[in-house]
Symmetry: C2
Subunit: 217 residues, 2 copies
Amino acid sequence: MPKQKRDAEATKAKIIKNAMILFSQNGYDATTADDIATACGVNKAMIFYYYKNKAGLYEAVMSEALSAIHTEVITSEKCCVSPLADLEAFIRTYASYCEQNPYLPSLLLRELSNSGTHLPEMMFSSMRQLFTLLSEILTAGQKQGIFQNAQPMIIYFMIVGTMNLMITTKPLRLKAAQLQEELDTCSDCSMEEIADYIFTKTKLMLEVKNETSTTCA
Amino acid sequence: MPKQKRDAEATKAKIIKNAMILFSQNGYDATTADDIATACGVNKAMIFYYYKNKAGLYEAVMSEALSAIHTEVITSEKCCVSPLADLEAFIRTYASYCEQNPYLPSLLLRELSNSGTHLPEMMFSSMRQLFTLLSEILTAGQKQGIFQNAQPMIIYFMIVGTMNLMITTKPLRLKAAQLQEELDTCSDCSMEEIADYIFTKTKLMLEVKNETSTTCA
DNA sequence: TCTATAATTAACTCACCAGTTAGTTAATTA
DNA sequence: TAATTAACTAACTGGTGAGTTAATTATAGA
């Protein structure tokens, strides 16, 4: 069954994949069904055949992207027991996932900048779950007296929002750095370095006493 | 001259104002020239008469919004001499400006999530200037040994990006808090409180030794 | 091998929207 | 006050994009 002339799953996947890329590059409105169809060498009608309408496709795309990252963070986050280690795992996993799937950040930011006006319920709850996760890590740490004065929402945006922005603005930052040499836009920072820096700064923000080695297995 | 039947400046201003609101609420593509025209009770043709095309109008809107915030931050930032006071002024001014002009954050975020694909040159340089400002404050502080290990780009996003996100997500955060009571989404934090919190955390991040009163005149 | 069904396609429709145009009315100036 | 210009309008156009439809082809099961 390696190659078939007809393979529903394969075409569905092709559509999702290309739609994700195009949506994240050009936004929802500026991406046409024809664009997506030609991008994956599939007849436009197939999009409507499988996903009913454009909004349905969009929802499917976001669902895919969000559930993927959610399980990734959830599963890898179990690695250690201390809140500090969990925090580190959270940041690192999110960073590495986003690096491998650079479409997600711009999709998320766009959605947030819409203030979720047309945000489908599923997406909303998925985003909430990710926040809840960090929120729980923070309250746990606070109860154990490891973290001080953690407003979860603001901390969440300082971590996740900043990583999202660093990814989506990469080309912009490069351009700015070329135009104005004395400007340090972190234009060739790797995502790992960024995650590292953010983790260090988050520890300072939360006034974590002292590093009793936090590296995971 | 209080009321004229014809007032070019007034209609131009009306168009900009309503366009700004609609663009920030619905995005560029989803906002039609007809929408804007009816919103300000002006004939659609006037939009093209004054701004040539939709892109021209958009550029004018962004130019307006950005130059306003830029001068606001620039002028009020002069208040003190120390980098720490300047940092505080930067954060506070940005916060209060955004609160009064809640359109800007969503416009900015949308633009950033586009990775500046259609970003007009003027806007790009305007955004750069704001970043340059913070960048200079940080390097000054670092030279004086007040700030430690400041990566300007990341710090910038942790401050400005977070404030932008807190503003645009306000309705979303409210909804999430209502659905899930135990979740603290900072849903009734004022912008002042948020700015305060961010400033406090930024000081920790930059390892500022100790507060020798930073309030401005 | 025949048949039912799922996958796929080309060629449409219809609504909507950016931008135009030709003409009208108010203000300005000579 | 006549003429010129600037502000404004109603009605149009052309293109585009979401979604449909009716027909066609592959595939699996009996």
